[in-house]
């Protein structure tokens, strides 16, 4: 592990060769791996450049910026480069999505250099990059990836488990640092990333360094780093892509992606290993037929489940028939606490709703009368105009709004709209109108049904007998205390009593 994962432990600033997210606007996020060189041979004079609808961002302007910084777009000559691309044969296509392509097919950057540009030399060292020129407009924010941001920006391979679902699932599965989790049906990897964050209790090699830090001595990390995600999928290409992603995101010590048909082959690990079973205490099945995988998740000697603890399970199925079948299978296999829930979540739009005649001709507002008085005024105005038209009068109409009071001249609609537009600059529009909220326009009304169940540890008559012998039924003494962590004061008092001499203890403690 060279660098810590940007998901789990972002560096203090954007650093090369790490995944970063360019936040262009709400719901428009572009993931890109920051490079000091043009790893995709796109031929920009500035080195690697991420091109977006809101400007072009050479990576030299992104690297070493603190996370969350607002970044100005740069002027990038895409035209000349385009001709170079044409020369190579596929330049036009690559121009569109240079950054995300690398992640989608997941191949390491080395393999991409099979098309060396004749004008632009391939080795990054030799290439002299042009210093970027700031563009007059355009900006983005550079963010470190989090599972939430990644879920919003990841390349879709299958249906994605979104944030509201995975947050609830991970909580219900009682996934905390140190948990070992099985995920079958890895799909696009959104749940995988969230699960990796939840189980994370240190990197494999960090045990030695951790012990140097006094403050972490209390944490159960150093020798017992157990947080792992075992991810399975029966689609080979998806597994390969996920594995490449995990590598790129620095999660390889935490997530293991395996190509496996778990219906047939279960969850046993490949090959002879010092760690023969997975020892999972949480299972997430995002499979079309979860009941077919359940037979591998029982309390048998080679079970992938942790034999010492209750195992929490969640299945994620869109159809009620799948749920019924799963629940029936769970009951026959002795799972307890079976519960099925459905989550619904939505975002809420907050906006200022401006209504009134003063909004006429402006965008995004309702230019109908806001009050009855306004409506009456407008009606009188129209009536007055009609009357004056019929009576052949040219000025001094009854509609006062219609006439400019100073000059008494008739105001045309065009003039009125111009007045409104001019007045807009002085108005505090952000404080006007009524503050309203409503659901986002497109709702996810159904994601999937979530079935939860718990398989407690096996408990034999022998275990019960031992437990009984060990503790027995002692005579009831109500006053007996329990083992709870003692307070400092209490411990001190006890130490005093033991030592007999209070002074020594007192001094030691100070």
């Amino acid at each position: 592990m060279s660098t810590p994962s940007p998901f789990l432990q972002p560096s203090s600033a954007a650093c090369p060769d790490a995944l970063a997210i360019l936040h262009l606007k709400r719901d428009l996020l572009t993931p890109t791996v920051l490079r000091t060189y043009d790893d995709e041979q796109l031929g920009y004079a500035e080195g690697k450049v991420t091109t977006t609808r809101y400007g072009n961002y050479p990576h030299s302007t992104l690297i070493a910026q603190p996370w969350g910084s607002q970044i100005r777009a740069s002027l990038v000559d895409t035209g000349t480069r385009g001709r170079v691309g044409l020369h190579l044969g596929s330049g036009k296509k690559r121009k569109r999505e240079p950054s995300s392509r690398n992640q989608r097919d997941g191949s390491p950057p080395v393999e991409r250099s099979i098309e060396p540009g004749p004008e632009h030399t391939t080795s990054p060292e030799l290439k002299s990059t042009k210093p970027p020129i700031p563009a007059p407009t355009g900006f983005c924010h550079i963010l470190p990836p989090t599972p939430e941001i990644w879920t919003a920006s990841l390349p879709h391979r299958t249906q994605v488990v979104y944030t509201p679902d995975y947050s609830y699932i991970l909580q219900r599965l009682r996934v905390t640092p140190g948990t070992t989790l099985i995920e079958a049906g890895a799909g696009s990897g959104s749940f995988t990333h969230a699960a990796a964050r939840a189980v994370f209790d240190g990197y494999p090699k960090d045990a030695a360094t951790l012990s140097h830090d006094q403050s972490t001595q209390e944490l159960p990390t150093a020798p017992l780093r157990t947080g792992r995600v075992w991810s399975f999928d029966f689609h080979e290409q998806r597994v390969q892509k996920l594995a490449a992603e995990i590598q790129e995101h620095g999660l390889e010590g935490i997530v293991t992606a395996t190509h496996r048909d778990v219906y047939q082959d279960g969850f046993a690990l490949d090959g002879p290993s010092s760690n023969p079973t997975i020892n999972a205490s949480a299972v997430f099945l995002d499979l079309p037929a979860p009941w077919m995988a359940l037979r591998h998740l029982t309390r048998h000697p080679l079970s992938p489940l942790n034999p010492l603890v209750s195992v929490h399970l969640c299945t994620f199925s869109p159809c009620i028939e799948q749920v019924q079948r799963t629940v029936s299978a769970l009951r026959s296999l002795g799972w307890l606490e079976i519960e099925m829930v459905e989550l619904s979540s939505h975002r809420i739009e907050v906006r200022r709703e401006r209504v009134g005649l003063q909004e006429e001709g402006l965008r995004g507002v309702n230019a109908s009368p806001a009050t009855l008085e306004e409506a009456l005024g407008r009606l009188r105005e129209v009536e007055g105009r009609d009357r004056s038209y019929h009576h052949g009068m040219t000025s001094q109409t009854q509609g006062e709004d219609l006439a400019d009071e100073a000059t008494g001249e008739y105001v045309s609609k065009q003039q009125r709209l111009q007045h409104i537009r001019d007045a807009q600059a002085d108005r505090k529009l952000y404080n006007e109108g009524r503050l309203v909220h409503r659901s986002e326009p497109e709702l996810k009304t159904h994601t999937s049904y979530l079935v939860f169940a718990i398989l407690p540890r096996a408990w034999t008559d022998d275990d019960e007998r031992k437990a009984h012998e060990w503790l027995g039924a002692a005579p009831v003494k109500e006053s007996n205390g329990a083992i709870v962590p003692k307070s400092k004061r209490q411990m001190k008092r006890e130490a005093k009593e033991q030592a007999g001499s209070s002074k020594d203890v007192e001094m030691d403690d100070e």
Binding site: G202, R347, K428, I483
Partner: protein
């Protein structure tokens, strides 16, 4: 981590047949009472596994004291007639063939051969209390005899119901379930953890104390806050005192400590360490009780494994990473719910990880430390003078100085900022809270605010709206004038403010009777505001729209950008953002 077995000193939740929960601290050699369902000795639960349903076995004259029996799952599900109860799951035909397909066609026969059962209706049933021939007294007498688990009693009640055969299958199941809830002497043992505590507080205990925070909303808050374990970084950055990547989280918690508990659970510091490992009992699956007890003292508090006095001479120890900093409105934080995890905030046990990872300071200490008594240094007295004092006065003096040192350290560290995230669950007016706390975050830190009702969050989102941000950038008020009426918060500091909500609907899944539950808990739905702390570029930046004209011009790396055209473009993007 999952607890392995029920151990003394922990809190467990017993779910009763009625569906209600009761919370008990497990102490050895005591009696635990579960109301009308009876009582049992704690020793019968200690060292036993979680999540099973236990049945209270009554004492028969002369026999050893009453015990508990684990009810096998098959017995629990005996009344549920699944479609294929006898067929093993793995031998079903037709499925194996189609394992690679996306969807295995399910063959459900909701209306099956037992047609006459399903056709039965309740048209002939006359509601009559006399259908039940057993009287109240008779039932009470049977209960008083107290033999068996209550199952016999229920059987007798069912037997003596004269119109039982008229009931539809579903009505019979309902009737049985109702009697079961009333008389069956069973309970299910669940470990106390944050989700269960949240559910219990919300549905049974006192929802207002936890600001009606629901289980699913808490999960959403947890995910968006990005609270997670961070290993202490090896390389030190001396330039940045509160280094990014240390896992420092700033919180305002008015849920009695529920939020702190949730964050601590996500950081792995909620439960005392080695709760399992240091127990005198080996926990091999097959031989859980290898170590023989020595007399009946083995579980008394004299030798608790996790409170071994350490030769710890540090005056106070504050962890540097994975810390939670609480800003509280009263002079003491209310963290009373942490007692279910054996943590007493007023008198923290040094063996509990939270005592090192939890820091608390009041709003006064954060904003005006000079006005706070705890932040003023107590008189420093020469050691020679102290030596002459009586021990009580001396320790009092040292205690005061320790408290002062700790307070000052916490306050100065908090004021340095650079926190990794902010979570606010508070009934305080939100804009001033965010005005003071958002600047303490480093770039890209997440801000999450929960509110039981939507209005405070709508108002907050409006204060961070794009329109207001543009207005702020065009005519920024003087920094010392902030907060102003128009700008109660600096709208440029947060990116993509979003308000969302989540709700969870439980279902009943029974053969032929699958539907959402008929009733649920109302009250607050619970709303979550999320945003990202950002660092605005100095000197202001202009937005760019997508204009076809503009795109063409950009090709020649133009330097002839006229001001007017730029303005047009700015408007284009602004409007687009507003629409989004």
């Amino acid at each position: 981590m999952q607890p392995e077995l029920v151990w003394p000193g922990v809190h467990v939740v017993l779910r009763l047949p009625s569906g209600s929960h009761s919370v008990h601290e497990i102490k050895p050699n005591t009696t635990i009472s579960v109301g009308k369902y009876g009582s049992f000795q704690s020793n019968f639960l200690i060292g036993r596994p979680y999540h099973y349903t236990y049945e209270i076995i009554d004492q028969v004259d002369g026999s050893p004291p009453s015990g508990l029996r684990i009810v096998p799952p098959a017995e629990l599900y005996a009344d549920i007639k699944d479609e294929e109860p006898s067929k093993p799951v793995d031998l079903e035909e037709g499925e194996q063939a189609d394992i690679n397909g996306k969807e295995v066609p399910a063959q459900f026969e909701i209306v099956d051969q037992k047609g006459e059962v399903l056709l039965r209706t309740n048209r002939d049933i006359v509601d009559d209390a006399r259908s039940q021939t057993m009287t109240m007294e008779e039932i009470e007498m049977l209960k008083a005899e107290g033999k068996g688990s209550g199952r016999d009693l229920i059987a007798k009640i069912l037997d003596s119901h004269s119109a039982l055969d008229q009931k539809t299958a579903f009505a019979l199941a309902k009737y049985t379930l109702r009697k079961t809830k009333k008389y069956l002497r069973r309970f299910t043992v669940l470990p106390m953890d944050v989700p269960l505590l949240t559910r219990w507080m919300m549905t049974e205990k006192d929802a207002l104390k936890t600001m009606e925070l629901r289980e699913e909303t808490l999960a959403l808050v947890g995910s968006w806050s990005n609270v997670h374990f961070m290993p202490s970084q090896l390389e030190e950055h001396p330039k940045q005192p509160g280094n990014i990547g240390q896992g420092r989280w700033l919180m305002v918690d008015e849920t009695g400590g529920l939020l702190v508990a949730a964050a601590a659970e996500r950081l792995g510091i909620l439960h005392p360490p080695n709760e399992q490992e240091n127990r005198p009992l080996a926990t091999h699956p097959n031989r859980p009780f290898d170590v023989q007890p020595t007399g009946d003292m083995q579980l008394t508090p004299e030798n608790p494994p996790d409170s071994q006095p350490k030769s710890n001479k540090r005056r106070f120890s504050i962890a540097k990473s994975n810390t939670i900093t609480i800003v509280h409105a009263n002079s003491q934080p209310n963290l009373s719910l942490l007692r279910y995890f054996n943590f007493d905030a007023a008198n923290p046990a040094p063996s509990h990880p939270l005592s090192h990872h939890l820091r608390t300071l009041s709003w006064l200490q954060l904003l005006h430390p000079e006005d706070d008594n705890a932040c003023t240094e107590p008189e420093n007295i020469a050691p020679e003078v102290i030596q002459t004092w009586k021990s009580g006065k001396r320790s009092n003096h040292y205690r005061k100085r320790r408290r002062w040192e700790r307070t000052v350290a916490v306050v100065s560290d908090t004021r340095l900022g650079n926190f990794d995230g902010l979570v606010v669950v508070s009934s305080l007016s939100l804009p001033p809270v965010l005005h003071h706390l958002v600047p303490l975050l480093h770039g890209a830190a997440q801000v999450v605010v929960y509110s039981p009702s939507i209005e405070p969050l709508v108002e907050l989102a409006d204060f961070y709206s794009t329109q207001r941000r543009v207005a702020y950038l065009n005519d920024p008020p003087a920094p010392e004038a902030m907060p102003t009426v128009d700008f109660p918060v600096n709208p440029t500091l947060l990116l993509a403010p979003t308000v969302q909500t989540i709700s969870c609907r439980p279902w009943q899944v029974l053969p032929g009777r699958t539907h959402p539950l008929m009733t649920g808990k109302g009250g607050s739905e619970g709303y979550v505001f999320t945003a990202t702390r950002v660092l605005p570029a100095e000197g202001g930046v202009e937005a760019r729209g997508i204009s076809k004209k503009r795109k063409d011009k950009l090709e020649d790396v133009g330097r002839d950008e006229s001001e007017s055209r730029r303005e047009k473009v700015v408007k284009a993007k602004d409007e687009e953002i507003m629409d989004s």
